[in-house]
C-alpha cells in the first residue's frame, strides 16, 4: 500500500507542493483585516511556514492520510459572508440559548450570535473587540504551533472567538460555537480560530459545532486553543459534521495547569477528509484529562485523529477512548501518542481504540504510541479492530430480534458509549439519532 500512496503524492513534486503552500499563505495573508495585523503572531507563523514543507506521505505523521485530493483544488481565502437564520436554526441547542456564537467563514456573525445568558465578567466575543486583554500571552502560544496547518491558520485567521473566564467564575449555561462556511463558486479556504482562557478555579462547558451547509468542496482549517489555569474545569465537545465535499483539518491545543480537569469528546461524522490534531500539554501536577472520540464514516470518507498527551508533572490522570465505525470504502486512522516524561511520576494513563468494520473494503490504521520515561507509572493501552460478532447477533435473534435490527442495536451501543460522555442532552440525543439512522 505504501508504494501506491507514494505514487499518488508523487503527482506533485516537493517543489510544487511548496509553491502550493506559498500560494495558500499569500492568499490567506491578503485577506487579513488591517485591525488584526498582530505582527508578532503572524510573522512568527510565517517564518515557521518558510521552514516547513507541505506534508507528504513520507512524513510519519501523514503516512496514512493522503492529501492529493486537497492539492487538486485551488482554495481561495474566504471573505466576509452571512447566513440566514434557517441555516443556523437546526444547530442551535435549547440548553445553550443566550450563549451561542455563530461564526461564518471564520468571522463572528453578530447578527446570529447571542450572548445574553453569560454571567457578568465573562468575555465572549470577537478578537477585534478584545485586543486589550493579555491576548499575546496566550494567542498562538500554546505548544504545538509548530505545525504547518496551525501556522497557516495563524498567518491568515480573520477573526477569533475569544472566551475569557475570570477567576472562580462558573458558567452554568453551556457555550455553543457554531462554525459554518458559506460556499462560493471558487472553493474557499476557511480558517476559524478560537481562544479560550479559563482562569484559576473557573468552569465551563464548551460545544464547538462544525456544521455543513453544502457538499461543495471547501477547506476548513480550524485552530482552537484552550487554556486551563490552576483548578479550572472545562468540558468540551467538538462536533465535526461538515458537508461531503469538505476537507477539514483541525487543531485543538489544550494547556492544563495544576489540578485542572479537561474532559473532551470529539465526534467526526462529516467531511470527505478530516484530520484532528488533538494535543494536551500538562504544565502542573495532578491534572485530569479525559478524551473521547467517536467516528462514524461511510462511502469514501477518510478521518484521521492524531492525539498527543504530553505529561511532565506527577500525579496526572489520563483516560482516552477512541471508537470508530467504518463502512463501505471508508478509512480511519488513529495515532494516540502519550509522552510521559521523567518528572511525570505516578501518572495513571489508559488508552483504548476500538474499531468496528462494517464492510470488507473498509480500512483502519491504528497506532498507540507510548513514550514513557518515568519509571513509576501505570499506562495501559489497547486497540481492537473487529466486525459485528456473529454470536452476539445470534443471541439477540434468539430473543426475537431480527438480524438487521440486532445489527443496528449493536452499532448504536458501540457509539452510545462515547456519546454518553456528552453532558448536553439535546446534543447527545441528536447525535444518537444520527447514529440510529446511519446504522
Amino acid at each position: 500500500m505504501a508504494s501506491s500512496t507514494a505514487e499518488v503524492h508523487s503527482r506533485m513534486t516537493a517543489d510544487q507542493r511548496d509553491a502550493y503552500l506559498k500560494g495558500l499563505v499569500q492568499g490567506a495573508k491578503a485577506a487579513v483585516p488591517k485591525a488584526l495585523a498582530l505582527e508578532t503572531v503572524r510573522s512568527r507563523a510565517e517564518a515557521l511556514l518558510n521552514e516547513h514543507a507541505f506534508p507528504s506521505a513520507r512524513d510519519e505523521d501523514w503516512r496514512f492520510t493522503d492529501l492529493a485530493d486537497l492539492l487538486a483544488h485551488n482554495f481561495v481565502a474566504a471573505g466576509e459572508a452571512t447566513v440566514g437564520e434557517a441555516d443556523v436554526a437546526d444547530l442551535r441547542l435549547p440548553e445553550t440559548a443566550g450563549a451561542q456564537v455563530v461564526v461564518v467563514n471564520g468571522r463572528i456573525s453578530a447578527e446570529r450570535s447571542q450572548f445574553q445568558n453569560l454571567p457578568d465578567g465573562v468575555i465572549v466575543g470577537s478578537l477585534q473587540s478584545h485586543l486589550d486583554l493579555q491576548i499575546v500571552e496566550r494567542l498562538a502560544q500554546a505548544s504545538g504551533h509548530h505545525e504547518v496547518f496551525t501556522a497557516l491558520n495563524s498567518v491568515g485567521f480573520q477573526d477569533a472567538v475569544v472566551v475569557w473566564l475570570p477567576r472562580n467564575t462558573v458558567v452554568e449555561t453551556p457555550l455553543q460555537i457554531i462554525y459554518l462556511s458559506q460556499p462560493e463558486e471558487t472553493p474557499l479556504l476557511v480558517q476559524p480560530r478560537c481562544l479560550v482562557v479559563a482562569e484559576t478555579g473557573s468552569a465551563l462547558t464548551l460545544i464547538e459545532d462544525f456544521g455543513g451547509l453544502s457538499a461543495a468542496p471547501h477547506f476548513t482549517n480550524a485552530v482552537t486553543e484552550l487554556w486551563l489555569d490552576a483548578n479550572a474545569q472545562l468540558t468540551h465537545s467538538r462536533i465535526q459534521r461538515e458537508g461531503a465535499g469538505t476537507f477539514h483539518i483541525g487543531k485543538t491545543a489544550v494547556t492544563q495547569a495544576r489540578d485542572s480537569q479537561y474532559i473532551g469528546t470529539a465526534v467526526d461524522f462529516g467531511a470527505r477528509l478530516a484530520r484532528h490534531n488533538w494535543e494536551i500539554y500538562q504544565t502542573g501536577e495532578q491534572t485530569t484529562t479525559k478524551i473521547y472520540g467517536l467516528g462514524a464514516i461511510a462511502a469514501n470518507q477518510h478521518i484521521d485523529t492524531h492525539s498527543l498527551v504530553a505529561l511532565s508533572h506527577p500525579h496526572g490522570v489520563v483516560e482516552q477512548q477512541h471508537k470508530v465505525i467504518v463502512d463501505d470504502h471508508a478509512h480511519s486512522v488513529f495515532n494516540g501518542r502519550m509522552a510521559v516524561a521523567q518528572k511525570a511520576q505516578l501518572t495513571n494513563a489508559s488508552q483504548l481504540n476500538r474499531n468496528l468494520l462494517l464492510s470488507d473494503k473498509a480500512r483502519v490504521d491504528t497506532k498507540p504510541q507510548l513514550e514513557i520515561v518515568a519509571d513509576n507509572v501505570k499506562c495501559a493501552h489497547g486497540a481492537t479492530v473487529s466486525q459485528l460478532q456473529a454470536d452476539e447477533i445470534f443471541y439477540l435473534q434468539s430473543r426475537g430480534i431480527s438480524a438487521p435490527q440486532a445489527q443496528r442495536l449493536l452499532i448504536y451501543a458501540f457509539a452510545m458509549e462515547m456519546l454518553e460522555t456528552i453532558s448536553v442532552e439535546t446534543l447527545r440525543s441528536r447525535l444518537a439519532s444520527t447514529i440510529s439512522k446511519w446504522a
Binding site: D391, E392, F394, Y395, Q397, S398, G400, I401, S402, L410
Partner: protein
C-alpha cells in the same frame, strides 16, 4: 405433567446435523407435549448442546436430514428470530455479554418484537417498566440489573437468572435450558429452579439439558432421556436420573451397544 391428549409442541424425527462438516446429531427422535418437562442427560460430546442450538437455529449448525415440527410448523423453515417469536426460547449455557446495550432496552426490544409478531402494538417505556418490575420477582433480581449492560460483569449465577427473567418475560411455548444449572451454587440453583417451576404450565413445555441430577431434585421431569453419539438411546422417568447419578452412564451405553433394554 403428562397428559397424553395434550397438544404436541415439538416433534423431532431422525434429525441429523453437522458442525464444520462433522456429523454430531445422528438420527435424533423426540416428542414433547404441552405440560411436560423433559430432561436430556448425557456425557460431554453426546450432542446435547448441539441439539439445543439446532432448535434455536444457530447458523453454524447445518441440518442434513430429518424434520422438526413445532406447534405444527416446519421449524427448519424459520429464521432464528421467527422461531423465537413463535415460542421457542433457548436459555444459553454461556449467555453473551453485550456492552453498551442496557438490559432494560434489550428486554423491551425483545418483548416488543414478540408483540409485533403477534400483530400487537409495541408497549411504551413506562408500561414496560411496570411489567418488568413484576417479572423480576420470579428470579429475585434487583431492579439495578436492568440498568446495567446485558450480562456485562454479571456473575455466573446472575447471568443464568437473567436468562430465566427473559423466559418469564417472553413466555415461550417451549423453553430449552442448556446446562442452566452448570456452575451454580445451591442458592442460585434453587432460585433458577423456582423460577422455572413458576413458569411451567399445562400449556407450555420445558426441555432441560444437564449433566447433573441435582437440578432434577428441584425441577421434577416427566421424562429423562439419555443422549449418546447424537441420538437419544434410552428414555425413562425421573428415577432414571437418580440411577445415572449413582451408576454412571456406562451401563446404559453398554445396553445400547448390545441391544439389551436397560
Amino acid at each position: 405433567m403428562i397428559n397424553e391428549n395434550s397438544e404436541i409442541i415439538l416433534s423431532v424425527r431422525d434429525l441429523r446435523a453437522n458442525v464444520d462438516g462433522t456429523e454430531i446429531l445422528k438420527g435424533l427422535n423426540l416428542e414433547v407435549r404441552a405440560g411436560e418437562i423433559h430432561a436430556i442427560m448425557g456425557l460431554n460430546g453426546s450432542g446435547k448442546s448441539t441439539f439445543s442450538k439446532v432448535l434455536a437455529g444457530h447458523p453454524d449448525y447445518e441440518v442434513t436430514a430429518g424434520e422438526i415440527h413445532f406447534k405444527g410448523q416446519d421449524l427448519l423453515e424459520l429464521e432464528p428470530h421467527d422461531r423465537a417469536t413463535s415460542g421457542i426460547f433457548l436459555a444459553f449455557q454461556y449467555p453473551l455479554e453485550i456492552p453498551g446495550v442496557s438490559n432494560r432496552d434489550f428486554l423491551r426490544v425483545a418483548f416488543n418484537a414478540h408483540r409485533k409478531a403477534r400483530g400487537e402494538d409495541e408497549i411504551d417505556v413506562f408500561d414496560f417498566d411496570d411489567l418488568i418490575e413484576e417479572k423480576l420477582n420470579v428470579v429475585k433480581m434487583d431492579a439495578s440489573f436492568l440498568d446495567r449492560s446485558v450480562n456485562e460483569g454479571f456473575s455466573g449465577g446472575e447471568k443464568k437468572r437473567n436468562e430465566i427473567l427473559q423466559m418469564a418475560l417472553l413466555e415461550p411455548a417451549l423453553a430449552i435450558l442448556d446446562e442452566t444449572d452448570s456452575g451454580l451454587d445451591i442458592d442460585a440453583l434453587k432460585t433458577v429452579a423456582g423460577g422455572v417451576n413458576q413458569l411451567s404450565t399445562s400449556d407450555n413445555a420445558v426441555v432441560l439439558i444437564t449433566h447433573y441430577q441435582r437440578m432434577l431434585d428441584y425441577i421434577v421431569p416427566d421424562y429423562v432421556h439419555v443422549m449418546a453419539d447424537g441420538r437419544i438411546i434410552t428414555t425413562g422417568g425421573k428415577d432414571l436420573a437418580k440411577e445415572l447419578e449413582s451408576r454412571g452412564y456406562e451401563w446404559v451405553l453398554e445396553a445400547d451397544r448390545t441391544g439389551v433394554t436397560a
